[in-house]
Amino acid sequence: MNNLVVFPILLPVLSGMIMFLFRDNIRLQKWISIIGLSGALVTSLFLVNANMNDGIQVLQVGGWEAPFGISLVADMLASLLVSTSSIVSLACLIYAFHSTDKQRERHYTYPLIMLLVCGVNGSFLTGDLFNLFVFFEVMLIASYVLLSLGGSKTQLRESIKYVAINIISSMLFIVAIAYLYGVVGTLNMAHLSERVAEIGQDGMITTISLMFLLVFGLKAALFLYFWLPGSYSSPPAAVSAIFAALLTKVGIYTILRMFTLVFYHHTAVTHNLMIWLAGLTMLFGAFGAVSQWNVRKILAYNVIIAVGFIVVGIGLNNAAALTGTLFYLVHDMIAKALIFILGGAMISIAGTHKLREISGLISHHPLLGWLFFLSALALAGVPPFSGFVGKLMILQGGVEKEFYAIVSISLVTSLLVLYSVMKIFIHGFWGETILSEDEEKSTGKGILIPGSILAAFIIALGLGADWALIYIDQAVEVLMNPSLYIEAVYSKS
């Protein structure tokens, strides 16, 4: 029992609720949000430390024992992801302070961001399937409002599609939960894992697992990604940076959790399907990214490619690939936030998102330009930045399992990623400077703090990979041995 586990969920939601009371006092809202998120970050770092020293941390809410009550479980994977999401949302929040207009600030942008973070952290920490659904909804409802807030034509049009798709997929999620409950009679993830192992994963349970794959695939933009480019490119830059960094990653996390803890008996069906879906996701995402001339659309398609790449690692399901997956997951959350923030700053300076009309920004904004160059290299997995290590290990896992086709698709799409982001860099930052400093639409100063924080993490993760792998190896150990997770949930201490 450890009450620390609930704080990364509780602090954002409490501070968000307090912030709703101070509608007109934007200054106070900013301070409360910073304090709330820093608190979540500090407690999640304590959780990582506690995992290192004493193993998995579990809280049985209200003191009800495991299969009957609700458990919050912070194993190393969840703690690492919670810390990363806190860092990323803190950076995006600081960028939002500079880039959000007065109208949006008055209409509760910051409290909604806090509720979004609460939903994300809750989904990482919960050990119960139905609670997962509830935290998903908390996160999604906050994202619906953030997406449509401001009410421009594009935003409204894209939110309708986003909301419709997510309502249908949430309902399918409940259907899948209902089927699973009908077959095995429990919803606690540890108990589920035990029951499924006892009765063996027959055709019925495999079918249910495919239904979960469909639902989580919709949320994670795995193959069913058609809603993503439009909806991620319409809200303000700070908001779409948070979306890109966190929302799809929650879907990926749940796929990772369910298919290593519960449905791991029939890898020939489920995991192979996952690998091929992920391969197609990467290919189509890469085609999309290469074909676009809209800065925000190029970046949104890059989110899809990364999802495909991470899910390949989950599908390969051996130690090397899973280590790579976790490393790449943490890297991708940070790198996506950074590049979306930089892209947003670029658009706000140039006043347009059409790449053909932007040119030569680097002469007035050298820092922005070089940060963009750095994050472009990191995104494509060029050493010494953080993307390289994860990519290498996933590919190593693919070679071990002899999936050469997928390995080559991954390598080709990495090149296309590099091409698509370098296209932004070359067209946007090089060439003739067409805007003098007076003609620019904004100064682009707000990126300095969040940009350098996130860039520092990317460099540190790349150079200090050995140090980071100590933690990630421990997380992989739990994923490879579900019994560790089950024992931790049932232990009475």
Binding site: F130, F133, V134, E137, I141, Y144, V145, S148, G151, K153, T154, L156, R157, E158, S159, I160, K161, V163, A164, I167, I168, S170, M171, I174, V175, I177, A178, Y179, Y181, G182, G185, L187, G230
Partner: protein, 112 residues
């Protein structure tokens, strides 16, 4: 009784899917609402309908009704009502701003 409920849920799923696939925005919203009702009926049915006493310790009954699906449905109904209300407001606002509720016209322009 379970068979009957399952058939009702199936009909509701069909109606919901049919409506959600239509062009008009209002029909899509109503379709998602009916889809949600179908889901809830199915969740209630799948664990077995009322068979014994209320699940209280003092009842001393031989069989108890499973309380979990009811708890789950309560949460899910609240969420789906909130979502339907939000979706209706969003649809209304989009109709005012964009001047149409035809999904074909909401695709977005090719080169914007």
């Amino acid at each position: 009784m379970e068979t009957f409920m399952t058939i009702i849920a199936g009909i509701l799923f069909t109606v919901g899917t049919y409506l959600a696939l239509s062009k008009s925005l209002l029909r899509i919203i109503l379709g998602t609402a009916i889809f949600a009702h179908a889901t809830h009926l199915m969740l209630l049915t799948i664990a077995g309908l009322k068979q014994g006493a209320a699940p209280l310790l003092g009842e001393q009954s031989g069989t108890y009704t499973d309380p979990l699906p009811q708890a789950l449905i309560l949460t899910s109904i609240v969420i789906s009502f909130a979502l339907t209300a939000y979706f209706l407001v969003l649809g209304y606002r989009a109709y005012i701003e964009l001047g149409t509720d035809d999904m074909d016209k909401l695709r977005g322009e090719e080169h914007e």
